[in-house]
């Protein structure tokens, strides 16, 4: 069943269609949340909140925008809220708790055969840059779609993406030299 048909059925009250629609977007939501937030636990919490919001506000969705764009907008909003709440309640204990989570993520990444350098470098980017990079490379969004998702001008999206890549290149180059970290 196509995405548009699922959306229509879910909006008309079809519970099965709604659950099926949520399952179809579940992995992409979690992936984006994971690379934006940088740890599994926050990614799970954010993913749950995003899916619940989609479930409750699906009737407000209009087909003017792409459904994935609408979903990723919710993901970015929830992740930004998470950033704000984390900033307000920073403590040594929480910081200590984050580190083992990150280690777990690193283990998971190592299991997939990828280096954690780029992962760590993404975590060093500013939040807006991180969002643009994730949307561009993990969700494969175009400049226009990123602009619609983040409600930013097109040139701003390009600027963020170019600067993010430049910074990542510098970070990875320093890391290859042994100066990163």
């Amino acid at each position: 069943m196509q995405e548009a048909e699922l959306i229509r059925k879910a909006q008309s009250g079809d519970h099965e269609a709604l659950v099926q629609l949520l399952r179809s977007i579940e992995n992409s939501v979690y992936r984006s949340a994971y690379y934006i937030l940088g740890n599994e636990q926050d990614a799970l919490d954010a993913s749950q909140e995003v899916l619940i919001r989609i479930y409750r506000k699906l009737d407000t969705y209009q087909e003017k925008a792409k459904f994935t764009t609408w979903v990723q907008r919710i993901v970015s909003n929830v992740c930004m809220d998470k950033f704000r709440t984390k900033k307000e309640t920073v403590s040594i204990d929480e910081h200590e708790l984050i580190i083992p989570d990150r280690n777990n993520v690193e283990d998971e990444i190592l299991l997939t055969g990828l280096s954690n350098d780029i992962q760590e470098a993404i975590g060093r980017l500013p939040k807006q840059y991180r969002l643009v990079v994730v949307l561009r490379y993990l969700e494969d969004f175009s400049y226009q779609e990123i602009a619609e998702t983040l409600d930013l001008p097109l040139n701003t999206v390009k600027s963020y993406l170019f600067r993010a890549r430049q910074q990542l290149q510098e970070l990875l180059y320093d890391y290859q030299k042994g100066g990163i970290g």
Partner: protein
């Protein structure tokens, strides 16, 4: 082409945003400049790493974990609606709380009305008091009222023997004539009767004390009449409420006292007549004639009593 423009073209080339002509021009530039080629290669490796990021998946199905919540949330909207409806009565309560403010306003208004009314009543009372006071003053100035106030106090001794009293005068100076021969009559006079006021109101309370001295045995009485102590004329008493209060006091005991006084006066008159006939005889006919003339003029027994009381008053002072 500047370095910035070349750098932007390299970025756009990584995203596949360059047109074929622009892409060819960029490659020509990169072949010429090794530094630009190095930068381009670094950017391309970063982009490749980003493209090769692992598609991480959650360890469990997030949808399955939140489905119970979602199903309960499906039931909650109605409950929430009910809750919202329950909230409405609180708003109604707030409206009711606004009603007391209106009632308070009315209460305040009524309080103000009451205050205004009370002040108006007080003003009316004040005006009335002033008017009554003025009327009372006028009545005091009126000679008829003087007579009326004096009559109850005029009391004569039961046995009064002496020459007829002269004409009453408004002069407060002491009366030095007659009365030397009758200290004995004054013995019988009760002390209360000494409070008699003259028509001219020249007597204060000061003469009240002498009668006790007069009550000394009459044998010693040498007919020495001292001039009456000049009594300063009383200033006009305050019109109100003192005058009214005195009147009221008089009214309370006036009937009984008046009856007694009348009886006493009648007795004294009879005795006077007898004494006049016996003692004075014909020698004092002229004086009697004068008195009779006076009586004819006045036709008032009270005046005689006043005269006699005045004479008696002069006598009382004489020790």
């Amino acid at each position: 082409m500047t370095n910035v423009e070349i750098w932007e073209w390299m970025q756009r080339d990584l995203d596949g945003d360059l047109a074929p002509e622009e892409q060819a021009a960029l490659l020509a530039l990169l072949e010429k400049d090794s530094d630009l080629q190095l930068k381009y290669n670094r950017l391309k490796s970063v982009s490749l790493q980003l493209e090769q990021l692992p598609p991480v998946v959650p360890s469990f199905s997030i949808v399955d974990s939140i489905l119970p919540k979602l199903e309960s949330a499906a039931a909650t909207p109605a409950a929430k609606a009910d809750l919202n409806e329950v909230v409405l009565p609180t708003l109604e309560v707030k409206r009711t709380s606004s009603q007391p403010s209106e009632s308070k306003k009315w209460k305040n208004k009524t309080v103000w009305f009451a205050r205004i009314g009370s002040t108006a009543v007080a003003a009316c009372l004040l005006i009335g008091v002033l008017l009554v006071g003025n009327e009372a003053r006028k009545q005091e100035d009126d000679p008829a009222t003087h007579g009326s106030t004096i009559t109850p106090t005029a009391v004569e001794p039961p046995a009064f023997i002496g020459p007829p009293a002269p004409q009453p005068s408004t002069n407060p100076t002491p009366i030095t004539e007659v009365g030397e021969e009758k200290p004995a009559t004054e013995k019988t006079q009760p002390p209360k009767q000494q409070k008699v006021e003259t028509p001219s109101k020249t007597v204060n309370k000061t003469p009240v004390t002498p009668p006790r001295q007069v009550q000394n045995p009459p044998a010693q009485s040498v007919p020495v009449v001292l001039p009456m102590k000049p009594v300063p004329r009383e200033p006009k008493p305050p019109a109100f409420p003192f005058g009214l209060e005195e009147k009221s006091d008089d009214d309370n005991n006036s009937k009984s006292e008046k009856d007694k006084d009348k009886e006493m006066r009648k007795e004294s008159k009879v005795e006077d007549k007898e004494s006049k006939k016996e003692d004075k005889g014909k020698s004092e006919k002229n004086k009697d004639k004068d008195d009779e003339d006076d009586d004819d003029h006045d036709d008032d027994d009270d005046d005689d009593e006043k005269k006699e009381s005045k004479r008696q008053y002069g006598r009382t002072i004489a020790v």
